[in-house]
């Protein structure tokens, strides 16, 4: 599964390192984190990580393979 998670605001390079398994790109006031997600547990883990870093998730979707 591949996912992209869109969070509000521009993510710093330092904080982006908290998601070493994902790529990121900054666009129009948002940061898109994208990459492979192993399973549901990983997915919820990513969401929890966003929350614990004070990031506001605005969108999350599965990407076509």
């Amino acid at each position: 599964m591949r996912y992209e998670i869109r969070v509000d605001g521009h993510l710093s390079e330092t904080l982006a390192k908290a998601f070493p398994e994902l790529g990121h790109v900054v666009m129009s006031g948002q940061t898109v984190l994208y990459g492979p997600v192993v399973d549901e547990a990983h997915l919820y883990g990513l969401l929890a990580r966003c929350q614990s870093l004070g990031l506001r998730v605005v969108e999350m979707r599965q990407l076509p393979e």
Partner: protein, 929 residues
């Protein structure tokens, strides 16, 4: 081992070791006063896992000087006292915790409200640990001063017994004023069963409990139902958000004056997020021109916390930045621990300053601090970028500091995080905590922690931990190999171990366990002697802190002595364990020891005593929510064997099935033999001789032959020969039966007699030691054999006298089996006048005189009640059966409602039920009503 006073045993069939009735109902009435009196004061309490270090989890977080009390939220939160459930729900840094803490502190100081506070930690994910902490939080605020749950608690991390929760709910329900239970960071609870358990307690505690959940995520409770019933107070993110006016007031507290319109744009940018506003104030204050800074920030599009934290961090002095990054690996810290991580000595002033400025650091009291969870998380990300690769080293330093401060669990956690297994295993062993790998709340945690150990890690301590792990899974081969390796290296390179005595004592424990599993008494005695010598060399306070170590060792020793047939020696060791002060740490050895003691009573011919002890073992396990299977599961096997003696065959079968279904936690020869005895005897009674012979073989490897196990096996074989018409083979087989085993000898005598060897039978009986240890199961059988021999010799008067004595002895114990085995010769005797009366009611079905015949499978429900009901409990139970309410019962008996509830609780406990209807039904089944 320590000299143990022999327990005084008399020949009186009535025992005095009944569980003492200590319920003092009147005391309960004072609980509430105690609670409010103690609220807010320092109650001496310790971590339920035996770690005083974690007391900060039960303390209300202190509010910083810059805390802004927002009256609209306080007023809303006051609703929490009127609804069972309150939810404070918002993102990290939304100000949830401070709001709840400020409110709770205010309720405590102004209204004398009992508030139990618990900061949930990651370890609290599992029900057993979670509830242990909740109970401790309740105790800490004085809400559980007395009552059934004041001392108990789960002993297994993964589960909690429903009865414990029912008792807790009942106790809370009895309160006049509710206790407010605040669970902070409840989002860390992910197990659905905990939510379900919380709901159960909340429901049954009624008006006695108000639950406040402070959480980032919505809990798995059926909120819609609470909402629909008007039983939910909700404070959610939108409400927690700062209004422009509040934001202005907050910045004012930080010394920043901002007009409300400017504050409004700031609130728009941060969405009223408390953490964002706070960071904003800090960053602005440290910039050259705060107002310009705020304008720039509003225009910036970075993620708020990320950006602001980096801003605030980079404005700190170098030393402060370094400190913050390094302590981000810790859940909590004090200046000395922070110094250990930085390698400097300046942590104290830096932390005081950081806390004063309300930047990142929260004060936990007693000079302990923690990072705000949100900032800690972001700082860790910075640490990895700024000081790459330093994390393991920081964990190592933290582990070493914590080791000195005496906090074992945190030492182990950081040692493991550093991957420093030699140190981590050494810490466990040196602390004499290796027994925790077998018993107590930490067992699972430790097993998981050490599962990361790689084969390259060598040293005596790591080998000991590996050996313990293998032996706890009954993997003898691997366990012995590691144990051997550990002993080798202890003998060769002692300096490698900081505390060789502790390592050797741990060795002795594992040796004793190996001895138990291999049925090797000599090995166990050696280990015990070794341990006895080493006890003087290890610090006494460590032994006190880890009572499980010696309790386990003595249990293993007792087990091997029991295997060898040295019942009195075994009893000495096992009684010492059974008398070990209660607590979760030693519950497993206690349960096992009581189970062994029950087996000894059974083998000595005391079915009543054996039953009481076996029930005590089972209930001990339940009191601490031990999982099934746990320990050796011997209690049920003994109960089954007793049931066979009483000819309660269905019950015996049910108990054996249950024991089979649960399987043994520990496979030792004693348990295997106990199972073989109970199963084979049941099969024999059923007439399945072949199957009985097969079942009688315990099928275990043991270093020495167990006299009683072998005798019982021979008895079954002999009985099978007899049943299949081979009296000579039967008699021959009996030669293996030792005269030292009275219970076996009398059975052998009966078989000899049945095989036609009256002389041999009487010889066997005469050879039985006339010691005072044997009980009615032996004397009754012996009397019956002599009676049969007398009758055969034509001496009916003697036979009658002996049968009369046997009936008198057996009646109290409901020992039916020996008489059923004595059919058909005894039948005519029992039909005659004095004997018939003695047998009526319990042995013979009531019927017209002269037709009395022992029932073939006479089944009478046998009470599974550990303790008799007191007179008052009976009064309450009778009224319960008449469908009276608690209040009505109280009125009827002229006692308080709380007293009735206390009686009800002990009735429930004694009947092993948790509900009224069940209690009544159970009492009817047991003919108590």
């Amino acid at each position: 081992m320590s000299a143990v006073a022999e327990p005084e045993e008399t020949d009186e069939p009535e025992e005095t070791d009944e569980p003492e009735e200590t319920d003092e109902p009147e005391e309960t009435d004072e609980t509430d006063e105690n609670a409010s009196g103690a609220a807010g004061t320092a109650v001496p309490y310790a971590d339920p896992l035996g770690d005083p270090f974690l007391r900060t989890r039960f303390a209300l977080p202190t509010r910083p000087a810059t805390f802004l009390r927002r009256q609209r939220l306080v007023q809303h939160l006051d609703q929490a006292l009127r609804t069972p459930l309150t939810l404070v729900n918002g993102a990290a840094g939304a100000g949830k915790t401070l709001l709840a803490a400020d409110w709770a502190a205010d309720r405590r100081s102004r209204a004398g409200q009992s508030v139990a506070w618990l900061t949930v930690e990651t370890g609290g994910r599992r029900p057993g640990v979670f509830w242990a902490y909740v109970l401790q939080a309740l105790r800490a605020c004085g809400a559980l001063a007395s009552g059934a749950v004041a001392s108990g608690g789960p002993a297994d991390a993964t589960r909690v017994d429903r009865r414990l929760l029912a008792a807790l709910a009942a106790e809370l329900n009895a309160r006049d004023r509710p206790v407010v239970v605040v669970l902070d960071e409840y989002d860390r609870v992910t197990a659905p069963e905990i939510a379900e358990q919380l709901e159960f307690v909340l429901h049954h505690a009624g008006r006695g409990m108000r639950l406040v959940l402070v959480t980032r995520t919505e809990p798995l409770l059926p909120l819609h139902r609470y909402r629909a019933a008007g039983e939910l107070t909700e404070i959610r993110a939108a409400e927690l958000a700062f209004t422009p006016e509040e934001a202005a007031a907050l910045l004012e507290l930080h010394g920043l004056s901002l007009p409300v319109p400017a504050a409004r744009t700031l609130v728009d940018r941060t969405r009223g997020w408390a953490a964002g506003l706070r960071l904003c104030a800090l960053a602005a204050l440290e910039s050259a021109d705060p107002e310009v800074y705020l304008k720039e920030f509003e225009a910036d599009r970075s993620t708020v916390a990320d950006f602001l934290l980096a801003e605030v961090l980079k404005r700190q002095p170098e030393e402060t930045q370094d400190l913050l990054l390094r302590v981000s690996i810790l859940d909590r810290f004090c200046p000395s621990l922070a110094n250990a991580l930085t390698g400097r000595t300046d942590a104290e002033p830096l932390l005081v300053e950081l806390h004063r400025a309300n930047a990142f650091v929260e004060d936990l009291g007693h000079a302990w601090y923690r990072l705000h969870p949100l900032f800690g998380e972001i700082l860790r990300a910075h640490l990895r970028v700024r000081l790459p690769g330093l994390e393991p080293e920081l964990h190592r330093r933290a582990a070493r500091w914590l080791r000195r401060s005496g906090s074992l669990p945190e030492t182990l956690a950081h040692g493991a995080a550093a991957g420093d297994w030699g140190f981590t295993a050494g810490a466990l062993v040196d602390d004499l905590a290796i027994g925790q790998l077998f018993t107590g709340l930490r067992t699972d945690d430790l097993a998981q922690l050490f599962s990361g150990m790689s084969p390259e890690d060598t040293g005596p301590a790591t080998d000991l931990v590996r050996a313990a792990g293998a032996l706890s899974r009954c993997d003898l081969e691997r366990g012995l190999a590691h144990l051997h390796q550990a002993e080798e290296s202890l003998n060769t390179d002692v300096p490698a171990v900081s505390d060789a005595a502790a390592a050797r004592l741990s060795c002795a424990l594992l040796e004793a366990l190996a001895a138990r599993l291999t049925g090797s008494p000599a090995r166990a005695e050696r280990a015990a002697e070794l341990a006895e010598g080493l006890r003087q060399e290890v610090p006494a306070h460590l032994l006190d802190r880890h009572p499980e170590l010696l309790a386990l060792l003595l249990t293993h020793l007792g087990s091997t002595r029991l295997w060898a047939g040295r019942f009195e020696d075994a009893r000495a060791a096992l009684s010492a364990v059974a008398g070990t002060p209660g607590g979760a740490a030693t519950v497993l050895p206690r349960e096992e020891a009581i189970g062994y003691l029950a087996l000894i009573d059974y083998l000595n011919g005391w079915p009543g005593r054996a039953e009481r002890k076996a029930l005590a073992a089972v209930s001990e396990a339940e009191r601490f929510s031990l999982p099934e299977p746990c320990g050796s599961g011997l209690g049920r096997l003994v109960l089954a064997a007793v049931a066979v003696d009483r000819d309660e065959l269905r019950r015996a079968q049910a108990l054996l099935d249950e024991a089979d279904r649960l399987g043994p936690g520990t496979r030792d020869p004693v348990t295997a033999a106990g199972r073989a005895v109970a199963t084979a005897r049941l099969l024999l009674v059923r007439g399945e001789a072949r199957a009985a012979v097969e079942a009688a073989d315990p099928g275990v490897f043991a270093a020495v032959v167990s006299p009683w196990a072998a005798s019982h096996e021979a008895l079954v074989a002999s009985a099978a020969h007899l049943a299949e018409g081979r009296p000579e083979r039967a008699a021959e087989t009996l030669r293996a039966v030792s005269g030292d085993q009275p219970a076996c000898a009398v059975e052998a005598a009966r078989l000899q007699l049945a095989a036609g060897h009256a002389g041999a039978a009487v010889d066997l009986l005469d050879g039985v030691r006339a010691g005072g240890r044997t009980g009615p199961a032996v004397s009754v059988r012996a009397a019956l054999v002599r009676a049969q021999a007398a009758e055969r010799a034509g001496d009916t008067a003697t036979a009658r006298r002996l049968v009369e004595q046997a009936l008198l002895d057996a009646r109290r114990e409901r020992l039916r089996r020996p008489f059923l085995d004595a059919r058909p010769w005894i039948r005519p005797l029992l039909a005659t006048a004095p004997l018939h009366e003695l047998a009526a009611g319990w042995l013979m079905t009531p019927g017209p005189p002269g037709r009395g015949q022992p029932p073939a499978t006479g089944e009478r429900p046998s009470p599974l009640v550990a303790a008799e009901l007191s007179g008052r409990e009976r009064d309450v139970l009778e009224r319960l059966a008449r469908m009276m309410s608690t209040e009505e019962i109280a009125g009827d008996l002229h006692v308080s409602v709380n007293t009735v509830k206390t009686h009800l609780k002990s009735v429930y406990r004694k009947l092993a039920v948790s509900r009224r209807n069940d209690a009544v039904r159970r009492a009817r089944d047991l003919r108590l009503l």
